[in-house]
């Protein structure tokens, strides 16, 4: 394994490690601040570059979580505003309302990170009926669009939307209960 003698490289390496260590928290904040899945990778990338490139400015020996939160939030807001600016007027107004809600939710303490939620989702998915599981897999894993699913099943697209709406509703309740249950057990 190569070790660098350059202190800047060491700092950047340390910063990268810290970023990876707190990746789950960062990812959770990113989606909370910019609730659009398409800009998530860019936000995480920007937050990473900002944190690592300016490693010499930070005190990496202290708790870096507040700093990472701040960096991620700012990166999230920048990308969110860029995304919103390009939208048509009505969609921009809807996005504004969504962001208000995201800021409101951001006030609440982050109780569960994305990884915990994914674990809960995994448990809850198994509780769904076989048909629902297949539908979820087809759409979210195999990437088949709602229109194509409707075409294959020979049903209106609206029926597929309604089914997903019901599935999401069941999953949300189940995930909340599972996470709460886990927290209570702790």
């Amino acid at each position: 394994m190569n070790t660098s003698n350059n202190p800047t490289d060491d700092l950047k390496g340390r910063a990268s490690q810290l970023f990876i260590k707190h990746y789950e928290m960062i990812r959770t904040i990113a989606i909370q601040i910019a609730p659009n899945r398409h800009c998530q990778e860019d936000i995480l990338q920007d937050a990473f570059v900002n944190f690592v490139q300016n490693a010499s400015r930070w005190d990496l020996e202290s708790d870096v979580r507040p700093l990472l939160k701040k960096i991620t939030r700012n990166a999230g807001l920048v990308h969110w505003h860029q995304y919103v600016r390009n939208l048509p007027d009505t969609l921009r107004k809807i996005a504004e309302r969504i962001q208000n809600e995201s800021v409101r939710c951001g006030e609440e303490e982050i109780r569960f990170n994305t990884d915990e939620k994914l674990e809960a989702l995994e448990i809850c998915k198994k509780r769904l009926t076989d048909r629902c599981q297949l539908l979820l897999e087809a759409h979210y894993i195999n990437g088949i669009s709602c229109k194509d699913l409707a075409k294959d099943a020979n049903v209106p697209v609206n029926t597929i939307h309604q089914t997903f709406s019901r599935i999401r509703s069941v999953l949300k309740e189940c995930i909340d209960n599972t996470l709460r249950g886990g927290k209570e057990r702790l």
Binding site: N36, I94, R97, Q99, S102, V103, Y140
Partner: protein
């Protein structure tokens, strides 16, 4: 999604998630979001869940790829020993004869791989031991095991008891610690669909979207921010805010040194100072009045230091150039206070005008005005009142600050504090208006007015604010032990203490409606199916003292003005004042 949404609203949410909304549907969704605040929670929750599902899909796909790579054919390194595979109902264990890898565990359900993990050997020499991890030798029984079981038998109920008690003891949700206070607002108009803040309101991390007007914020570390509309700023904590549009003037206290303003183009870090910031589509401009700040662009690694009397402009992050200091580009604190003074005088003038108009209204029954230097009853038209005809007594109240500088109010600061008055006669219609401030909200309710004979006399009333942020009017019905209760929708998620509100309620027998107002705006209407004559009689403002019970629902706060009309005022009449 278990809330009350129409099928159409649900469909629109689904279409939004799938990105299939057409412009017309977007308009309908926007309208629905404004009409039904619950819908925005639903939409937000669905976006997050949708993201989670996509993430889950990606994870599963990644694992599938990993699994493919782990097949015997694809393994490129040289095996000294064939690896062994064992399976149970949901997992596959692969023992790899690699000196560094212990086992590879693949968990899978019948359809796809759920997760995989590779455990690494702590000690490369313990290769032979690692294979027998699952078959561990049974441990010899120790005499201490019995004590352990006994302890666990005693401790388990104790832990269960404590955990249950903990749940009961702390049912309330955690509150956000306030870190910013809206100290002043001049003609502030908030963007539609965003939260509007009132003067005196406190908040945690929050967003201020100002369409026009000016506001002054005070942070918990003593720093002050003046923002001019249009402005869009998000406050993360007392040392960090994000602003993508508008003008700001910042005065940082010694505790707030290091205060950071992030913008889409550059970041401004304070070193104990006063400075102005102006952000638009072209870039960000910083003018330093006192002290020093640092301007860092995202694309230029070297930050620029600015001292007092200097300024710089960062254009979309490409470059930062030093420019001449110009106080015209931000709001000067002195001019803000000048405007504030003019604004307050304007508000006072309109209030005085309104009060004189109300005094000429023959329907005015009583007007208690405590806003002047001498607290007074401008009018109490209760014809058969106390000996001198128009009197109210203030018990345990003290003079306090009013809703605007130069105005005063009566602070009711203990359980016996009240303003006792007498409004005799029966009223077929009624409007009550009160300008009050709460210092604390009581769980049981916060009385604005209560007839002392509420439990004895039909038609007696109680008017209170509930801690949930709803206004409630109770009317004693003809049959004993019955009462009609009218409760408004919450006017806020949670009522804010230390903020001045003008509450009003009107009972209109002709329209058979009870209408609730906050700051002159109709917030709720309730049907009043069987209008009955109302009576107040001897009553207390801000308290309810009854022989039958000790009151717990007194008002903890201040009253500036209280008036009663014997007709139902309209929303237009309410709004004439400000």
């Amino acid at each position: 999604m278990g809330q009350s949404f129409t099928p159409k609203e649900r469909e629109l949410v689904d279409l939004y998630l799938s990105g299939d909304l057409d412009p017309q549907q977007s308009e309908i969704l926007l309208q629905s979001l404004d009409e039904n605040p619950e819908l925005i929670h639903c939409l937000y929750d669905n976006i997050i869940l949708d993201y989670l599902l996509h993430l889950y899909g990606k994870k599963v796909n990644d694992l599938r790829e990993d699994q493919e790579m782990l097949t015997e054919k694809d393994l490129s390194f040289d095996w000294h020993d064939p690896f062994s595979v064992s399976r149970n109902h949901d997992s596959t264990w692969i023992s790899v004869p690699d000196p560094e890898i212990n086992t590879v565990l693949i968990r899978q359900d019948p359809i796809e791989v759920i997760s995989h993990s590779i455990s690494y050997r702590q000690d490369p020499d313990s290769l032979n031991q690692s294979r027998s991890y699952e078959k561990q030798r049974p441990r010899k029984k120790s005499p201490f095991d019995g004590i352990g079981i006994l302890c666990s038998l005693i401790l388990f109920p104790l832990v269960v008891f404590l955990s249950l008690n903990r749940e009961n003891a702390d049912p309330a949700p955690e509150k956000t610690v306030p870190m910013v206070r809206l100290e002043e607002a001049i003609d502030a108009v908030w963007e539609t669909g965003t939260r509007s803040y009132k003067r005196g309101e406190e908040a945690g991390p929050c967003r201020f979207v100002l369409k026009s007007g000016m506001i002054k914020l005070r942070l918990d570390n003593g720093s002050e921010i003046i923002a001019e509309g249009p402005n869009n700023l998000t406050l993360h904590n007392s040392k960090n805010l994000f602003c993508d549009q508008g003008k700001l003037s910042v005065s940082v206290s010694p505790e707030g040194i290091g205060f950071e303003i992030a913008t889409p183009y550059a970041t401004i870090v304070d070193f104990g100072t006063k400075f102005g910031v102006s952000i638009d589509d072209q870039g960000v401009r910083a003018d330093v009045v006192q002290g020093a700040v640092q301007l860092t662009s995202q694309k230029i690694s070297k930050p620029v230091q600015l001292s007092a009397g200097s300024a710089a402009f960062a254009d979309r992050g490409e470059k930062i150039e030093t420019i001449a200091f110009d106080p015209q580009h931000f709001i000067d604190a002195a001019s803000f206070f000048e405007k504030l003074f003019v604004f307050h005088e304007k508000v006072k003038k309109t209030r005085r005008k309104q009060a004189s108009k109300w005094l000429q209204d023959p329907a005015l029954v009583a007007l208690y005005d405590f806003s002047g230097e001498e607290r007074k009853i401008v009018r109490n038209d209760a014809r058969h009142s106390r000996k001198n005809g128009s009197e109210a007594r203030i018990h345990n109240g003290k003079l306090d600050e009013g809703s605007l500088p130069g105005l005063s109010s009566i602070s009711l600061c203990n359980r016996n504090a009240r303003i006792n008055c007498e409004i005799s006669g029966n009223f077929s219609a009624l409007t009550m208006i009160a300008r009050v401030r709460f210092d604390r909200f009581r769980k049981e309710g916060n009385i604005l007015l209560a007839s002392n004979s509420y439990y004895e006399k039909d038609g007696s009333i109680q008017w209170r604010i509930l801690p949930s942020g709803s206004i409630q009017l109770k009317i004693r019905s003809e049959k004993e032990s019955l009462e009609s209760i009218f409760t408004s929708d919450p006017f806020l998620n949670e009522a804010q203490p230390k903020v001045w509100y003008q509450f009003a309620v009107s009972a209109d027998p002709q329209k058979k409606k009870i209408v609730f107002y906050v700051d002159g705006k109709n917030i709720s209407e309730r049907n009043w199916d069987q209008p009955t004559p109302l009576s107040i009689g001897e009553a207390d403002l801000g308290n309810f003292l009854n022989k039958k019970s000790i009151t717990k629902c007194c008002l903890e706060g201040s009253i500036e003005e209280f008036c009663i009309f014997d007709r139902a005022l309209t929303e237009t009449e309410m709004n004439q004042k400000e």
